[in-house]
Every structure is written in C-alpha cells, then in structure tokens.
C-alpha cells in the first residue's frame, strides 16, 4: 500500500511549474462557437462585456510538465484514468490578457471500491492575470489503481 501521509507531506501544496498564456480574440471566439454558445458576451467582440466562455480556461495548461512534477514517483499499477475536471472562475478572462498558470498537487487521497484501492491525485492549476488577480482554479483528478 502506498504511504499516503508521506506523499501528502512531500507534494501537496507546493508550486512546481509556471506557464504564461496570452489570450487571443480568435481562440475565445472559436471556443464559444465549439460550445454552440451564441451568448454575445462570449461570441461578439463588440459586446461591452465580451469575455471568454467560463469553461474556456479548461483548454489551457494541459501539459505533462504542468500536471506532474518531474520527480513525482510512479504509483500503482498500469495506466491512470481521468477522474474529471472542475473549473472555478474568480474573474473575467478577456482577449489580450496575459495569464500565469501555476501548478501544484492540491490533494492526494485513497478510497476503496469494488475494484480495490484507488489513489486520487488532484492536479491544480491556479490562473492569475497580468494584474496578479486570480481568475480561475482548475482541478484535474487522476485515478490510479494501487496494490492493497
């Protein structure tokens, strides 16, 4: 069995990666179109409240370096599966914004089920704009089977 307490102590809450993104108008429009959302706030640049669709931020930062620290231990058996993504919006994201994505492991926990013990690793991306204002938090859950 994996030592959860030790893993948590070593990894949870420590920033390990940063990446910068400049938000383009076309990518904001393309995202709204792909969602089928015709609300002018997300699809019309002339709208005074034009901004990125709330789930747009989920497209950014999905890289291996941003997800997992380079020296993070290999855990469990086999491949992991996607445990879902949650997005919390703190402020608007608009074309021209320069976002900083800061990565951390937010939580590591285990649970047991029909198929045995599963380890949950919560990868968190904290997004800030050019004024250092938090604009979004994105949590991605990775699930791994571990030996009982």
């Amino acid at each position: 069995m994996v030592d959860i307490d030790s893993l948590r102590r070593d990894w949870v809450g420590k920033e390990f990666h940063r990446a910068e993104y400049t938000i383009g108008q076309q990518q904001v429009l393309d995202y709204a179109a792909s969602c089928g959302d015709t609300d002018p706030r997300y699809s019309d640049p002339s709208n005074p409240d034009f901004e990125a669709h709330p789930t747009f931020i989920g497209c950014l930062g999905n890289t291996r370096d941003a997800m997992t620290p380079q020296d993070f231990p290999g855990l469990g058996r086999g491949r992991s599966i996607d445990g879902g993504k949650s997005v919390e919006i703190h402020g608007p994201i608009r074309p021209g914004d320069r976002l900083s994505a800061r990565s951390e492991i937010a939580d590591i926990y285990a649970k047991t089920g029909r198929s045995g013990t599963m380890l949950f690793i919560v990868h968190r991306l904290n997004f800030f704009n050019q004024n250092e204002e938090p604009v979004a938090t994105v949590d991605l859950r990775q699930i791994k089977a571990v030996e009982d």
Binding site: Y109, K111, T112, S115, F120
Partner: protein, 208 residues
C-alpha cells in the same frame, strides 16, 4: 416512519446530488420517505445546517458518516466530537475493531454497509480473513448493489444472526429511496435513530 439511511451529497468527492435537490425529488416523485441520512465518505460534516430545508419540505435530514476499514465500508450513526477524535475518518485502512469499539464507547452505532459487495463488503472479508466480533447490524438492502449482492448480504446476515437495515447509497438525486429503513416509532433526531437501530426497532425495505 421510513428513512433512507445511506445517501451522499456533493460534499462527498463522488457525490453529484445537492441536498435541496434530494428534497425536491422526494416530494415531486411522492416517494414514501420521511427523511434521509447523509453519510458522506471518509468525513463527518459538522458544519452544514439543513434545518431550513427540513422545515420547507417537511423532511428529517440527519448526518452520519461512511468510513473505510480493513473489513470494508462502515456507516457510523451518532457521530460526535469524541468519536471524530477516536480514529481518522479520512483513512481507508482503519481497523474495523477500532471503529466498532470506538462507536460503542462514544454512544454511536457502527454498521457495515453493502456487506455482500466484493472488496468493500464485510462478507467478502469474512471469506478471506474470518469473522470478527462486535457486529450486530448490517445494511442488507443497498440501492447501489449489483444483482446478487443484496441476496448475499441478506443470506449471510441471517446466517450470522445480524439485524438488517436499508439505504439507497445514492450519489445522484434520482437514486434516493431505492432502499430504506422503516422504523416502528417516530424518529425526530439522531439520538432517536441511534436508539432505534441499537434496539432493533426497525426493518429494511427495498423499493427497487
């Protein structure tokens, strides 16, 4: 009086149901429930206050916990500060003997849930590791059981002389009430529930 003794809300990491929506569903579908117990995974929620919902919908909403042990998952009714300090609710490797004895010592009731389920059910562990002392009540009807699992739970509970109760184990709104427990007398609060469970003044019901 019928209560669903095993439900999860969005406070559980895999729960997708808001408590308000459970209440709406029970009333809209005219389910034969008088209330339900929230049994969040690996934690005890001592902060949420559902009294307004209880008043609005005329339902009893109680709080308990589902903890994980070396003999599978266990529901704990009547959680108090003494009990939350007695063992770590967040761990998945609690010794069931510690959980059962701590519950008894702190005035609570601990009862294995879905005991017929592979890996996380009591009776699967009995097969591998033998019987343990201190169990007298198990969830014989679980709304999340696959075909055959409740049958194992019921038969094995009878064989070992355990009393049974029911709960839906719902994680989404539409599953609440799939299984429940009928009480012989009114239950108004968690103390009444613990007393009725301990005294065996209830029986399991399934509505699947």
């Amino acid at each position: 009086m019928i209560l669903d003794l095993h439900t999860h809300s969005v406070r559980s990491d895999d729960g997708r149901a808001k408590v308000d929506n459970y209440c709406q569903w029970i009333r809209k579908k005219e389910l034969p429930l008088d209330g339900f117990v929230l049994t969040e995974h690996r934690q005890y929620d001592d902060t949420s206050d559902y009294r307004d919902l209880e008043d609005h919908y005329g339902l009893l909403i109680l709080k308990a916990s589902e903890v994980e042990t070396d003999y599978g998952h266990v529901l704990v009714f009547g959680v108090n500060e003494d009990l939350t300090n007695a063992f770590d609710f967040a761990r998945v490797d609690n010794h069931i003997g510690d959980v059962l004895s701590a519950a008894r010592r702190c005035g609570a009731v601990a009862a294995p849930c879905h005991p017929g389920r592979p890996n996380v059910g009591l009776f699967a562990h009995y097969e591998r590791k033998g019987r343990i002392e201190g169990v007298d009540l198990v969830e014989i009807y679980n709304g999340g059981s696959r075909p055959g699992e409740d049958e194992i739970s019921e038969a094995e509970a009878q064989r070992f002389g355990y009393r049974g109760f029911g709960g839906s184990d719902s994680h989404i709104v539409s599953r609440i009430g799939y299984a429940a427990t009928e009480f012989d007398e009114p239950v108004a609060n968690i103390d009444d529930l613990v007393s009725a469970l301990r005294g065996g003044r209830c029986h399991a019901r399934t509505f699947r």
